[in-house]
């Protein structure tokens, strides 16, 4: 008994120390700073009660806008990424020549860093699209990054392009876990292709969606680098996502306390949304 406790703590302590130093401590400091007027540079951080929270909720239009924008954007991205991932996964698990090559190709964008992806697509949207549009006289292909709607669409395309490969991989793993016996039994009973998909594959895929939706949600909420390199929040701050708003508040307006308050609000909202999602999807998972 005594020995097993020792083993337990022997394994746990390093993780606990790392977790406290890297996550808990900064979080506690952050929460503290959200109640001060610290500017992020100077040594004076005077506590000012709830005033940061009051300011961001009552007197910060851009924060409210970025919040809504991030929520809507994440919702759209989660739907598109997971639908596309499912489609791709079903496609490449069909038995055909080169299916492995396609898996690699679809997964590839995920290996490129967000900054690079942003720059590559900035070039595509502003030069390639523009060039094609001018050449073929298709006006809607031009100037994608200069209106709020198309800039958002562009950001969405980049995110979906980048993330769906990874989610596809998760789906593939889950599809391969489905016992052939189930599918065979169903076809012997006369189930059509669609019925087999709808009544067997899809329910068996729920664990993949639990993870997939969780990861996409979390990634979309945290999105910064693609946002920065593709649109820089522009045009006129219309594609400024929450992380960028927080960063700008802290480092370009020198309002570290306010930025921390935004961070705390943001943390709570993200935690609530993702935990709720996990809870509901866990209940739907089918055990064999």
């Amino acid at each position: 008994m005594k020995q097993s406790k020792l083993v337990f703590w022997g394994f746990q302590t390093p993780c606990l120390i790392a977790f406290s130093l890297a996550i808990l401590l900064p979080m506690a400091m952050g929460i503290y700073y959200s109640f001060t007027d610290w500017n992020g540079i100077g040594s004076s951080a005077v506590p000012n009660g709830l005033s940061n929270y009051i300011t961001i909720f009552t007197n910060d239009r851009q924060f409210a806008y970025s919040f809504r924008y991030t929520l809507v954007f994440s919702l759209a991205a989660v739907l598109l990424v997971n639908l596309l991932a499912l489609g791709l996964a079903l496609l490449v698990t069909q038995k055909f020549r080169g299916s492995n090559a396609f898996r690699s190709i679809f997964f590839l964008p995920n290996l490129i860093g967000g900054i690079l992806v942003g720059f590559i697509w900035q070039f595509i949207f502003s030069d390639v699209f523009d060039g094609l549009g001018t050449l073929l006289k298709i006006p809607w292909l031009c100037n994608w990054l200069s209106t709020p709607q198309t800039a958002t669409a562009g950001l969405l395309i980049v995110v979906v392009w980048q993330m769906s490969g990874y989610m596809m991989l998760i789906c593939i793993a889950q599809i391969q876990n489905i016992p052939d016996s189930l599918l065979e039994a169903a076809s012997i009973d006369g189930a059509t292709r669609f019925q087999r998909f709808w009544h067997i594959k899809l329910p068996m895929l729920t664990p993949a969606f639990t993870v997939g939706i969780f990861l996409t949600l979390a990634n979309c909420f945290k999105l910064y680098d693609q946002n920065l390199t593709l649109t820089q929040g522009g045009p006129y701050n219309s594609s400024e996502m929450l992380t960028m708003n927080i960063y700008n508040t802290a480092f370009s307006m020198n309002k570290f306390g306010q930025a921390q308050a935004k961070g705390v609000v943001y943390l709570v909202v993200v935690a609530v949304i993702t935990l709720t999602q996990l809870f509901f999807f866990k209940r739907r998972e089918v055990e064999l």
Partner: protein, 470 residues
């Protein structure tokens, strides 16, 4: 079973030990560095000559021995990074025991934000380029008193005032920044226009119209096949719109950066004239029919991708573009002239002119680092080699009285000096803008250009955010 437990324990122990050591490279490195530097503090004098070597003096620079030091020089003019690096290399041959790491962040990136992030991460540079008085306030914790430095006596009095806080000189005025509307003399001459005579809003408007007409009629097709439109307006760059653009208007409202910095509210009496200026630029840009597209035009595409290859004939830029133009086409430099930034009915024949960059030494660095940084600045501004780099390579207009033999080699600076001689200059006040104002007002102007908001709303919001950010 018993065996297994022991193995488990052993494993746990190994992990724990590995983790503690794996996790703590920093203190180990620190002690190593500490021993290294404490070792060198006594050593260097023995290796170098004990007395100052007079043969290493140059110009107004007096050589002195330094302790070993390694320091970071953080600056934001990326276009000059290579030139500064070569100057550093030259300096390091005189002082082989000093190592200066140049870090250049700028161009499209917000260098100030990166600097703050760097400082909050505990990695403070020793020598830092700053832009203006509000930076002095933001980074006030870090400013070293440099009143005793030999270059101080050479700086023009009017300029020295802007470098002084509480009667202590805290910054070296690195150069004069000047900008106006650059134009391509060749193109204008081909249309029969003498740029030197364009000194009012209406004259410039008419000249632009003439050039646009010549382009549309195909008259310039043979001589300038790429020419598409008169003006490049990189509206995606908020620094072009607000930092420089709005300065032309606000420089008439405030007399210097400190004035702007102390202003709790903004009157913006020149807002109307500034609107006319923006309208003028939009009207003769490539996207006059669909102005919202301008918001995607960035510095690179407006400068290297348009003006330098003679796709456009005018752009609001300044002396810093010389290396870029030279990099694309050396012969193009002779073609550059400077028009005023015309503020209709207020002041139509001014260019913007003032100290645009300061070098400060970080008080928090070690003594050896600070001494090396100060000595480097002395060498960089007072030695003959340094002066030559400033005037010829960087094309910096240095506001010091010892540059008689080293006149600035920069077409834009020379043209702007002519404006300065006749008193037609607007001071630089953008250093006194509130932090973050560039971003909010920039977004405002962009939405005006895109037709999302009307000008009065934009100005009202700019005033509100000025007051709010103060």
């Amino acid at each position: 079973m018993r065996y297994q437990k022991q193995i488990c324990m052993l494993l746990a122990l190994i992990f724990a030990v590995a983790f503690t050591f794996g996790c703590s490279p920093a203190p180990a490195a620190d002690t190593a560095a500490a021993t290294a530097s404490s070792g060198t503090e006594t050593a260097p004098v023995a290796t170098a000559a004990a007395t100052a070597d007079e043969s290493k003096n140059s110009g107004d620079y007096v050589y002195q021995d330094l302790q070993d030091a390694e320091l970071t020089f953080y600056q934001y003019s990326v276009e000059n990074a290579e030139i500064i690096q070569s100057a550093i290399d030259q300096y390091e041959t005189i002082h082989p025991n000093v190592k200066i790491n140049l870090e250049s962040v700028g161009g499209g990136t917000d260098w100030r934000t990166s600097l703050k992030a760097k400082i909050s991460s505990g990695d403070e540079p020793t020598l830092i380029a700053l832009e203006g008085v509000s930076d002095f306030d933001t980074f006030s914790d870090m400013l070293e008193d440099v009143s005793d430095q030999p270059w101080v006596s050479h700086v023009y009095d009017s300029v020295l005032k802007e470098c002084t806080i509480d009667s202590k000189v805290v910054a070296l005025p690195a150069c004069i920044v000047c900008y106006g509307l650059l134009y391509n003399k060749g193109i204008f001459t081909a249309c029969g226009i003498d740029g030197e005579t364009l000194r009012t809003y209406d004259a410039i408007d008419a000249a632009f119209a003439t050039v646009q007409e010549a382009i549309d009629s195909g008259k310039l097709k043979d001589q300038y096949p790429d020419l598409e439109t008169v003006v490049s307006l990189p509206a995606a760059e908020k620094w072009v719109l607000v930092l420089h653009g709005a300065n032309a208007a606000l420089g008439l409202e405030f007399s210097n950066g400190f004035d702007a910095y102390n202003a709790k509210t903004l009157d913006f009496t020149t807002a109307g004239a500034f609107k006319d200026y923006i309208d003028l630029m939009v009207k003769y840009s490539a996207d006059a029919d669909n102005p919202s597209a301008l918001n995607a035009v960035d510095y690179d595409s407006a400068m290297g991708g348009s003006f330098c290859i003679q796709k456009t004939a005018a752009i609001q830029m300044g002396q810093w573009v010389q290396p870029i133009v030279a990099g694309v086409d050396e012969t193009m430099l002779d073609q550059i002239g400077v028009l005023p930034i015309p503020l209709k009915g207020v002041d139509e024949d001014n260019v913007c002119y003032g100290v645009g960059e300061y070098f400060v030494v970080n008080r928090h660095s070690t003594d050896a680092q600070k001494a090396a940084a100060k000595d480097f600045l002395n060498w960089f501004y007072l030695s003959n080699e340094g002066k030559s780099v400033q005037s010829n390579d960087l094309g910096f207009n240095v506001p010091m009285d010892c540059y008689g033999d080293y006149p600035v080699d920069n077409v834009v600076s020379q043209a702007c000096n002519a404006y300065a001689q006749s008193g037609n200059i607007t001071p630089l006040v953008f250093g006194g803008y509130p932090d973050g104002w560039q971003d909010s007002f920039g977004a405002g102007i962009q939405s005006y250009i895109a037709g999302e908001k009307d000008w009065d709303t934009v100005i009202q919001e700019a005033k509100d955010s000025w007051a709010q950010l103060r």
